[in-house]
Amino acid sequence: MDILDLAFMQRALLAALLVGVTAPAIGIYLVQRRQALMGDGIGHVALTGVGLGFLLNTSPVWMATAVSVAGAVAMELIRWFGRTRGDLALSMLFYGGMAGGVMLMSLSANGSNANLMTYLFGSIVTVSPSDITTMCVLAAFVVVVTLGLRRQLFAVCQDEEFARVTGLPVRLLNLLIAVTAAVTVTVAMRAVGLLLVSALMVIPVAAAQQIARSFATTFALAAALGVLVSLAGTTTSYYADVPAGATIVLMAIVLFVVFTALAAPLARRRARSTTAAAEERCTLEVPEARAPADDVRVV
C-alpha cells in the first residue's frame, strides 16, 4: 500500500474519513427539516471567514468556523423573526458572504486566486498537520451533538410544534443544529471545498433514504456512504490525478442513482414477504345496480 506511506495521503484519507462521517450526520437533520440547501448558504458565508483569516494572517479554518457559526446563527434568527421576505434576507447573507470573501482575499498579501480556489473547491492533499488537529476537534463536536442528541433533534426536525409542546428547549436545539452545520462546513471545507460542502451533507442522506425504512438506518447508512465515497474519491484522485472534491461528489451522485434504481424492486420484495394478504384476491361480489324505488320510466 504505497499511498498509505505518504504522510500527505495519510492526512488526506483521515480528513476524508472525518468529512464522510460528519457531513451526512448533520445533513440528515437539515434534509428532515427541508433545509437541504442550508449547508450551501453557510458555505458562502464561510468564505468571508477564510478571507478574514488571510487578511489578519490567522488560521483560515478557525476564522471560517467563527464567521460561519455567526452566519448560521443569523440564518436561524431570520427564520424565527423573519416575516414573509426571509428568503431575501438569506440571499443577502449568502451573496454578501461570498463577495466579502473574494474582496478580503484580494486585499490580503498572500491571498492569491490559487488560494481562493483551494477553499472554493477543496484541496485535500494539502491538508496540514495543524489542519488535521483542528478538523479532529471540530468533527468530535459534530459527532457528539448529532449522535448524543439524536432523539431530541429528530423530534425537533420532524414536528417542531409538537416538540415545543413537549417542553423541549426547541430554540436552543435549533441553534445547536445551525452551529453544528456551520462547524461541519469548515470541517469539510478543505476536502470538498465550500461550494461542494452541501453535496456531502445531502446526497448520502438522499441515497440512504431511498432504501431505508427508519431514521436510525438512514443515519447509519448515510454516514457509511459518506465515508465510502470520501475515501474512494480521495484514493481515485491520487491515482487518476483528478480533483478530489469533484470526484467525491460525482461518486456520491452515482451511488444515489444506484440506490434509487434499487428502491423499486426492493419495495416489491418487502411487500411480497410481509403481506401474505396481498395474495388474496377480491372475493366480495359486487351487487347489481339497484332499480330506483319509484321505478319511473319515460316512455
Binding site: 428532515q32 426536525c157 420532524q158 414536528d159 409538537f162 413537549t166 433514504q209 427508519s214 438506518t217
Partner: protein, 259 residues
Amino acid sequence: MERQPTEPVVSLRGGTASLGSRPVLRGVDLTVRRGEVVALLGANGSGKSTAVRAVVGQVPLSAGELELFGTPHRSFKEWARIGYVPQRTTAASGVPATVREVVSAGRLARTKLGWPRRADREAVVRALELVGMADRIKDPVAALSGGQHQRVLIARALAAEPELLIMDEPMAGVDLANQAVLADAVREQVAAGTTVLLVLHELGPLEPLIDRAVVLRDGCVVHDGPPPEAVGQHALPGHDHVHPHAGPAAEPIRTGLLT
C-alpha cells in the same frame, strides 16, 4: 367512578389572539376541569383550532389570562402533563421514520435531554397498544393510511402518560373504522381519569363521551354547555357537513370542506 369536576386544568379568560392583522379570538373564555371531556365546536375559521393552539402556547395571546393546572401559562413547565395531537399535516418529513421512532418523540416530554430507560420504551409500546397499532411498531410511517397515521400521532401524545389530552381535529380525514378505534382509545383514557379537550368538526362517534361542548363563532363563545343535539349541531351556522356514506373500510370522500 364519580367524577368531581372541580379543579380547572385549563383556564382561559378573555383570550384574544390574531393571525397577522386578522383577529381570530375576540375574548374567549374556556375552562376545562379535571376529568372533563370538552369538545370545541364551530365552523371553519371560527377560531377553534387557534384556541387550542393558544392553550398549548403555540399562538401568542394578545390579551387575556391563561392558566394550566393552576399555574400561569408563562411559568408553566410541566409539559409532560399535557399530551398534544396537532392537526394532521399530510406533508410527511423527508427522512423515513418508523412508528416507534415517531411515538418515542412523545416520550421526550418525560426524558427531556436524557437517555430513555426501559420504562420509557415500555411506555411507547403501551401507547401503541392503546390505539391498536403495536403490530405496526417497526413499519415506516409513510406506509400507513391516514387513519393509522392519526392513531400513531395520538399514541405519540399518550406516550408521555399525560393527565390532559388536547387534540386538534383528531377525526378529520379518518375513515369510520379508524374513528371507532380512536373513540375506544379515548374512552379508555377518560375511564382512567384523563381530561380531554378536543377540537371537532362534528361530534361523530365521540359524542357519548363528551361532557360539555363549547361552540365558537367568529372568535367568540356562543354556547357553553351540554353538547348540542344532532339537530342543533346541524343547525350550527356555517356548518358544512359531508356524510361519509362509503363502506367502513373506505376513506370518506374528501371534498376539501372538512379540512
